[in-house]
Homo-oligomer: 413 residues x 2
């Protein structure tokens, strides 16, 4: 079964912790073949809105594939979902998560291209953070033999996004230069690797000082996120750069556009500046939206510049981009098989550790991807911590920053 | 000499017209090797600001090539220059014109790559509409043997602009669709031809009804410029188009963005809606600038869209794009030599006919390119017209619309 990890060597340790008696009970009862464990977001808000619980297992509909999940990807957008800071979010309670890897367990009617037992990775429109997911066959891709489930869960969203931004939106070619924010993040690392697949591309990466050693080899030049990067880039390349990839928005939009060479492209692919605290705040989002500097098309005309936005989730789930993404995935798997790209996994977390994992993304502590490893058992809590795995879904506000001292030690690769 | 045309078969006819006695005198005196004929813009404003006069011939500086001009291209932007409706225009009097073809007559010091007698086409930062121009060697390109001077003068700006917009800004590929405004204009025809060099590209062209027969074969679907083209396109392609090329601006920016498929690109490459009448009007320009709808980057993010601006003149003359354009020109000349593209010349005009030629562009009467043919003699005026070739540069306002009945008959190819 998929709970071997919990039932193996760490079981004794878990039993020491009262909380994990609850987990163990879950495991025991989830032998019920109609039930599965899943992360539930009870309502929009802070980390305390998340818990692990049992849910009825889904069955594949017409055109869907049912996957026994091995690993799930955690992305910054999951924090925005948790806060309700996305466009028309579904009504909670919901199971978060947009990507996973696993094994095909069954197949819906009139669904072709996969067989039971296939190792696959998949996009899911929510519901990925569970032991079992069902998703349309168009969002499922066979994994290369040498790819691990953890790598696969780190692959889909970030590499497809990086590839499409660089090659379909911005038209990266030999000799160009790319500025990427959050260069240590999972998209940033995918961008750096894909840039190195093109001859003579210069990558300017922006990252916290603490990550500079870890990512030094993946980028050409590295700047601290508190530095005046516009000046720093211009010292090295007075004429600017060809491509700016921005996941922050706000003031960085104007700075990015200003840094472009003629015919250069600025691509906005996220708005992580919007996530500032733990509370849901439609107000602060609305404010961010309206405060962002709008751009006059004539300015782009006079300066020969390109401004683009890219949201892979919208492309996949709202705009029918499945076929186009399939083509991109084929190219990416070819690059993977050639050894030219390889996902960087920051750390593995049990479902029960999703709060700490989210906190790590929020604090930008990661280098590469955070993975929810379905078969991983939670790392023991510190002795005097008894609040972490509360399943009560209390409504009190619990700012993430307060959790720093109670953080579990994840399995860092 | 370059005035053979005037001195040949039409000379007798010219002498009938009083105005052409003046022309003939110009010709006689311009045998002075230090002088040349040129179109002069005396000040910003209407057609009456233009006249043909004698100027001192320029000599090539360091890095420049001196060209005996055979033909010049006329573009919509020349109307905007005449009205002073461009960003930081030079102070008049000036010689308009940004492109020409001709024969290399001499070469500046330390200037390599060309020999006297070479047939060339060239970009010039103003000063093209004259018998002789000097321009930096980076803006000069050898003509293919089979290309005529008229074709060459129709080639440079329009094909380079069309190519860069389609392939460097917007990334046109097999199976895509393109909407182009002013499909009968010289850029529109270049766009249509370049689209046909890629398999399975659908071109939606917008043009006046009067041009539909002439351009029917160059586009896939054609709409009248007064039609609701958004609805018309959606009837054929409900999901929209991949690329919109807009030389109009104003309301068409929002319509163009709305018509894009996900990952589609809207490219603004002109603002001909700004030229509404004959009078210089900084006010109406400023108004147009501020009234144009600015675009929120988040909207592009949510919709997966690209908004770009393209100005080849700015790229060439303000942004150091010469080397990049040279690469594009090499590709275009290869396509020309393969017979895959061929400039469409609407009509040839003598320098003295520049007002009528401009009027034709203003009225959007052309299919393809208007050429100032240096060796062409003016077509005789209608008998009761005596104002057309006045060289006095009167300051009275003379709306172009009033000239309709006095138009000369150009040589239409």
């Amino acid at each position: 079964g998929s709970f071997d990890g919990i039932e193996q060597e760490e079981e004794t340790e878990h039993m020491i912790e009262n909380n994990f008696v609850v987990e163990a009970e879950n495991v025991a009862s989830s032998i019920d073949p109609k039930e599965m464990r899943a992360v539930i977001l009870a309502g929009f808000g802070g980390l305390n809105k998340l818990r692990v619980t049992k849910k009825t297992m889904p069955e594949p509909q017409h055109g869907e594939v049912k996957i026994r999940v091995k690993a799930c990807g955690l992305n910054f957008v999951d924090l925005m979902v948790r806060q309700g800071n996305i466009d028309s979010p579904p009504k909670p309670p919901l199971i978060p998560g947009f990507e996973c890897s696993g094994i095909v367990e069954s197949i819906g009617e009139n669904t072709h291209g996969f067989e039971i037992g296939d190792r696959v990775m998949a996009f899911v429109c929510y519901n990925a953070w569970a032991e079992v997911v069902c998703t349309p066959v168009d969002y499922v891709y066979k994994m290369p033999d040498k790819m691990s489930f953890q790598e696969a869960a780190a692959f889909s969203l970030n590499y497809v996004a990086a590839y499409m931004m660089l090659f379909e939106v911005a038209n990266l070619r030999e000799g160009m230069s790319v500025l990427v924010h959050s260069a240590g993040g999972s998209v940033g690392q995918a961008v750096a690797q894909l840039c190195s697949s093109v001859p003579n591309v210069t990558v300017f990466g922006i990252a916290s000082c603490s990550k500079h050693v870890a990512i030094r080899d993946s980028v050409t030049h590295i700047f601290d996120r508190n530095a005046d990067y516009v000046q720093e880039v211009k010292k090295i390349s007075p004429e600017g750069v060809d491509i700016v990839l921005d996941c922050l928005s706000g003031e960085h939009t104007g700075k990015g556009l200003a840094l472009l060479k003629p015919l250069g492209a600025y691509v906005l692919y996220g708005a992580s500046n919007m996530v500032t605290g733990e509370t849901k705040s439609f107000f602060s989002i609305a404010k961010s939206w309206w405060q962002v500097e709008k751009v006059n098309p004539f300015k782009l005309y006079e300066e020969n510049k390109v401004m683009a936005g890219f949201s892979l989730l919208n492309l996949l789930f709202k705009q029918g981009g499945g076929v186009r993404v399939k083509t991109v995935m084929d190219k990416l798997l070819s690059l993977y098989n050639q050894g030219r790209i390889k996902p960087v996994v920051d750390s593995l977390w049990a479902l029960e550790e999703v709060k700490e994992a989210m906190q790590r993304i929020h604090d930008r502590g990661n280098v590469g991807k955070l993975i929810l490893d379905i078969e991983k058992s939670p790392t023991p809590l510190m002795a005097n911590d008894s609040t972490e795995t509360s399943e009560a879904g209390e409504e009190e506000e619990d700012p993430e920053g307060d959790n720093d001292n109670k953080e579990r030690m994840p399995f860092i690769q």
